[in-house]
């Protein structure tokens, strides 16, 4: 090969890296911006032009946000709803995932297709009839009702994900456990569950994040007991800039943090191998 080719290869390689980095920056910079906005004092937020490299770091805006009326309760509500969603969807969904992974039975394919097709439904729009129903039942403006809807949203995904997690645990292992003294239940708890735990945990955290972020249903289903996104949304037009920025930051950071910790499991769940 001529030397010219290897030089042009280097250039192309360099361009590829450049594009990759640019895209990464495109994703990171807005996150950076909202972070510095959240950590700027109020007068900086109202001022213009804003510096892209903040001079002062201050907790003023964040404190202002947290101490505002309704905010702390809404934070608590978000946590409660997300936890409820996580637990319920896992408790209901994991057994179904296990059944799909381990058994062959009549109706299995139909069930699977139905689960897949529910993803084509704009689930969020369920909230309107459910809101009407919950009102009739006296469940309106209740965190349980939000959790119920979030679980309905998350359940199909949970079932499919836990199914693939259990498929990843070899059936032979449970069989070996039964040969060496375990009942079916013991084989599950002593062998399958410990090995499935990382995947299940990752799925659970992902469900948590989805519930934490959800806006539409939460807003429709609640009045006084709003979750953080619902509270923020309702007050959006009327609230000052510092409030909005701090609110956005608060929704953002826990979600990103959680995702950081479970990224490896998520990638293997989705079928992506990291080189």
């Amino acid at each position: 090969m001529k030397r010219k080719t290897s030089y042009s290869r280097l250039v192309v390689r360099g361009l590829v890296y450049l594009v990759a980095v640019l895209i990464a920056l495109w994703i990171l910079i807005p996150i950076y911006l909202i972070t510095i906005a959240a950590f700027s004092p109020k007068d900086v937020i109202y001022s213009w032009p804003k510096s892209l490299f903040p001079q002062t770091i201050s907790l003023e805006t964040l404190k202002f946000f947290v101490s505002a009326q309704y905010v702390l309760p809404s934070l608590r509500n978000s946590v409660v709803v997300a936890l409820l969603t996580l637990v319920i969807s896992l408790v209901i969904g994991a057994p179904a995932g296990y059944a799909l992974a381990r058994y062959i039975f009549r109706g299995k394919d139909i069930f699977r297709i139905m689960i897949l097709s529910t993803r084509a439904f704009p689930i969020v729009i369920l909230s309107i009839p459910l809101a009407v129903t919950f009102m009739k039942w006296g469940l309106y403006d209740n965190l349980i009702s939000v959790a119920i809807l979030h679980v309905a949203m998350a359940l199909p995904t949970t079932i499919l994900v836990t199914s693939s997690v259990f498929v990843g645990v070899s059936k032979e292992l449970e069989e070996a456990a039964t040969v060496f003294g375990c009942s079916r239940v013991q084989a599950f708890t002593r062998v399958a569950l410990p090995l499935a735990l990382p995947g299940l945990a990752a799925s659970a955290i992902f469900t948590f994040v989805l519930s934490w972020n959800e806006v539409f249903a939460a807003t429709i289903l609640t009045l006084q007991n709003r979750t953080l996104p619902a509270r923020l949304f309702i007050q959006l037009a009327a609230s000052p800039l510092p409030f909005r920025f701090a609110g956005g930051f608060f929704i953002l950071i826990p979600a990103i943090t959680f995702m950081f910790f479970i990224r490896r499991y998520l990638f293997s769940l989705w079928g992506i191998t990291l080189k």
């Binding site: 990464a24 804003k50 729009i125 359940l155 996104p229 959006l236 950081f260 079928g271």
Partner: protein, 284 residues
Amino acid sequence: MNLKRFNWEPYLLLLPSALYLVFFLAWPMFQAFGLAFQADDGHLTLDYMQRMFSDVMFSAALINTVKLIIAIVPLQFILALVMALLMMERLRGSDILVYIYSIPLAISDLAAGIIWFSIFTQRGYLNSLLYGLGVLDKPFLFLNYQSNWPFAAIVLAEVWRATSIVFVILVAGLQSIPRDYAEAAEVFGANWFTRVWRVTLPLLRPSIQTALILRTILAVQMFAVVVAIAGRGMTVLANEAYRWYSEYRNPHLAATYAMFILVISLGTAFIYLRALRVKEEMVL
């Protein structure tokens, strides 16, 4: 041991999920249908539907939704494809890159809306940057409802936020394609572009189809991003549904909008399935 061959175990394990989905997914669907086409006293009516179609905001909402989808989805796909192909290039530090590229998956559409609002708002970062570069000497009102800027800002926000969804699906799809095909093409003389266009992309069709359907359905429900950036200046279908429920206290109209969204979602899914007709053999 009982002589019945019938194993009830799997059905027992499935039962809670099946019941839950029937109660809180299937039944509300029917209820939404009922709310949209049935008056309070019980008789079937098309009044709500007619009311929706004749509503002043309806056409605006529909047109905005459609315009946004047409602007956002293709852009996202190209970007996601570039990102996914980059992943296959074995760059150093690509595991960090994959993580960064999937960060937006964790970002709520409301948070994304607020973030890009902070960029485009009058006293925001974009104006600051332009001032710093000397392009402007006073802030430009981007989020002017009369202009097209709010639209652009929403497009940017959605592309920023939701490309990861498509990216993740495409990367998983790319990795499941055996390298043999591309390598064979290379041996037989195809350059990079030809390889991508004639080998990789066709094999990627199932993933592309899945991603398209998923993304479009999510896009039809676009809600918080629009409100966060454009406030009352621009409305979309989901927004109308929300307003009819919360502000005008009319669950019937809200449900009608919801059904309309459902119809569009299913319709586009159907169109994608036909247009991208994925042959069985391609699913390897």
